[in-house]
């Protein structure tokens, strides 16, 4: 694939052979792996360098039990069995950190994000971009990610977050186990997605 600068093995690792896993081995996902993932993907771009993504790692049996009970039926068994579960959320008060994150435009906090609805829209967009970077980062660690949006959003907010945070998705993380995935489903063709004017 000479049109890409990325090494073919890296293309495979991140996109072509990486799959959404529905089953995992019991091998733990370490704190060092999660730190390495974060320290890689933190550099990916957002608007005004905002950083609304928050990650809650579910490690205790007690917390896992509470979360599994809030997942949709079809997501419960795999979430109960995943080596690590990450709850990804958007912090709607991200503007408090903006003066530190955007030193060349310290006025952004008050000039652009004084209104909560504006912040919520921006937090949703940019934390979702960061969630995608996080999924790519999980794959960069040689792990499989199983992102899910099928859960009781208000219940998860109440159990694990607060009114300033919006749950985005739950991601099961680990090494893929036996029968970890369905056959690869089709994708849209280039001409169905890309047009030129």
């Amino acid at each position: 694939m000479s049109a890409l600068a990325l090494h073919p093995a890296a293309q495979d690792l991140l996109f072509r052979e990486a799959r959404t896993a529905n089953a995992f081995t019991t091998e733990p996902v370490t704190e060092a792996q999660v730190r390495a993932i974060y320290d890689l993907v933190k550099y990916a771009p957002t608007a005004y360098n905002q950083a609304p993504l928050r990650v809650v790692l579910i490690r205790s049996d007690e917390a896992r039990g509470r979360l599994v009970g809030l997942m949709d039926e079809g997501n419960r068994r795999k979430t109960a069995a995943a080596p690590l579960i990450a709850l990804l959320a958007a912090d709607n008060e991200f503007h408090e950190e903006l003066p530190a994150l955007l030193p060349h435009f310290p006025q952004a906090k008050d000039a652009l994000f004084a209104d909560r609805p504006v912040r919520e829209e921006s937090a949703l967009l940019n934390a979702t971009l960061q969630a995608a970077y996080f999924i790519v980062g999980v794959r960069a660690a040689g792990l499989a990610a199983g992102p899910m949006t099928g859960f009781d959003v208000e219940g998860v907010r109440k159990e694990f977050l607060d009114d300033d945070h919006t749950p985005l998705m739950v991601v099961n993380i680990g090494r893929p186990g036996a029968d970890a995935w369905y056959p690869r489903a089709p994708r849209l063709a280039y001409h169905e997605v890309v047009t030129t004017v």
Copy 2:
């Protein structure tokens, strides 16, 4: 960085050395490059394998002029000079393709996405994930991306899309030119983003 499986050169290409470019060389971005980017990132995960992202490549001078006039003042000069401009949008009627994209659950189209507000929320989330994958793909092609959300959203919808599509961002693409970026801004520390329960 032994906690990651991705080769350090690929880490640099995609995250550590990649930057949001504000200036570009005049080297064109070819159709073959955009196809290679799409053919790589199309495999990244979305909910129910939906594919709401749409990409409008702005190649004619006439289209570029219309778009530049709808960008915020501070984004005009770089958008006028970028070798390629990609308008990324969400298709709120993505459910029409679901039976083809999700052959093991063909009922999803009607069972889950019969209501337009539900579709709009899902299209926004998943097309934004796909936009992040696209940005990573631009970097995988050895190119710099300059994503921007500062434009007249309704104007862009009217000029380049229709009522079924929501503009997400405009991405300038090319090889970085002279003084392409500001100094790297700070990022949040791990403990500010990740908590464990």
